[in-house]
Amino acid sequence: MRSISGARNRTALALAGLAALTAAVLLAAVPLDLGAAWPQVAPALPEPQTELARFAQAHRTWLLPVAAVLAALCVAAGIVLLRSQIPTRPDATRRRVLDEDGSLLASFRPQVLERALAEQVEAVPGVRSAVVRLGGPRSAPWIQASIGVAEDAELAWTIAESRALLARDVRTVLGADPDRVDVLVALRTAAARSRRPAHVETARTPASGPAPAADPTPAPVPAPAAGAGTA
């Protein structure tokens, strides 16, 4: 699942807000005669009747470099901030499957396991679609899934079964209990069966039809070995 850093956006907005307020104070300092209210700053303020062009000419030596640096910083900050609006997904490196002696038995891309887990979840009665994302260190993997559930399904049972299945299968394959299993539920109407849950993009499986009526506890993903880790 892709995400955008809200903390980064809010920090950028706060810094820009403070910069704008600072600019407001500097612009208003002379017209409002702030030097009268704060005599300490009075010597630093120019004469009120000074023309802007004359003021700029008098301070040209430092004003131009500062303006150039500020402009370059604005462009750089704009590019960084714009790029950070593109949702990113956490890095996903290959996972290794080890035997009890620590010998490498196999390695696989996380997407392989994510697809297998999604297919298992989609076999749970009531689940219309599933997208699974796996991450985290070998000792504490995490799972984040978006699960589309039929509106007429037994929601509590379906979600509990899906979460338990995800936790069980990851434990079986990777040999470690998942640190957390997060599930975003999307209630699906009959008309929306073919649609995917919102804001998911990875490990897609073919759209499933109506959920099977039997076999509420599908077989777990085959367990290749005792230990597993990341490359």
Binding site: L13, A14, A53, L64, A71, G135, L155, A167
Partner: protein, 182 residues
């Protein structure tokens, strides 16, 4: 292997104001860089900017135009700070907690749709609207009946039952009101 995922029940990321800010920074910074580069290379401002810059240069520092610009900057700064500091409402609600560690989240709009569908099956209800927030669920049902009290009571029971099914981690307050339609 990878960073923790973003929590499913999270405050808004402020993508729209951040994108607007990024575009404004790019535009202002790019324009300033171009003008300064032209000034350094040729000794004069770019032709399209000469007239506005001459106008600006003629302003005196005590001119009211500076006050207007300061007011604009001040308003912009306050708007940006409010966008940054105001938490905003999460779009999802934590529900169906169980023994497996982690969170199950349901979008508010899905709960609203489920409530609407359930309430429109209540006797006496012609149509229903639901607005779910983190703390409160507001429900408006329309009815043709003269006495709306039984309809409100039945709608409240149906709403509480529907909410109980999703076992919210924090129980919302349910406000139901009826609107008479002819």
């Amino acid at each position: 292997m990878s960073a923790r995922p973003r929590p499913l029940v999270a405050r808004p990321t402020r993508t729209v104001p951040a994108t607007l800010l990024a575009l404004a920074l790019l535009a202002v910074g790019g324009l300033a860089l171009w003008a300064l580069a032209e000034l350094l290379l040729t000794g004069s401002w770019p032709a399209p900017m000469q007239e506005p810059i001459a106008g600006l240069g003629a302003l005196r520092l005590a001119d009211p135009a500076f006050l207007a610009a300061a007011a604009g900057c001040g308003i912009l700064g306050i708007v940006l700070l409010v966008a940054a500091l105001r938490p905003g409402r999460p779009h999802t609600r934590a529900v169906l907690a169980d023994a497996v560690p982690g969170t199950t989240a349901l979008p508010h709009r899905d709960l609203e749709r489920r409530l609407r569908a359930r309430l429109e099956r209540v006797d006496g209800v012609r149509s229903a609207r639901a607005a779910a927030g983190p703390r409160t669920v507001r429900i408006t049902v329309s009815t043709v009946l003269e006495d709306t009290a039984p309809v409100v009571a039945a709608a409240r029971r149906a709403a509480l039952g529907t909410i109980a099914e999703i076992r919210p981690v924090h129980d919302p307050r349910v406000l139901v009101r009826a609107r008479r339609t002819s």
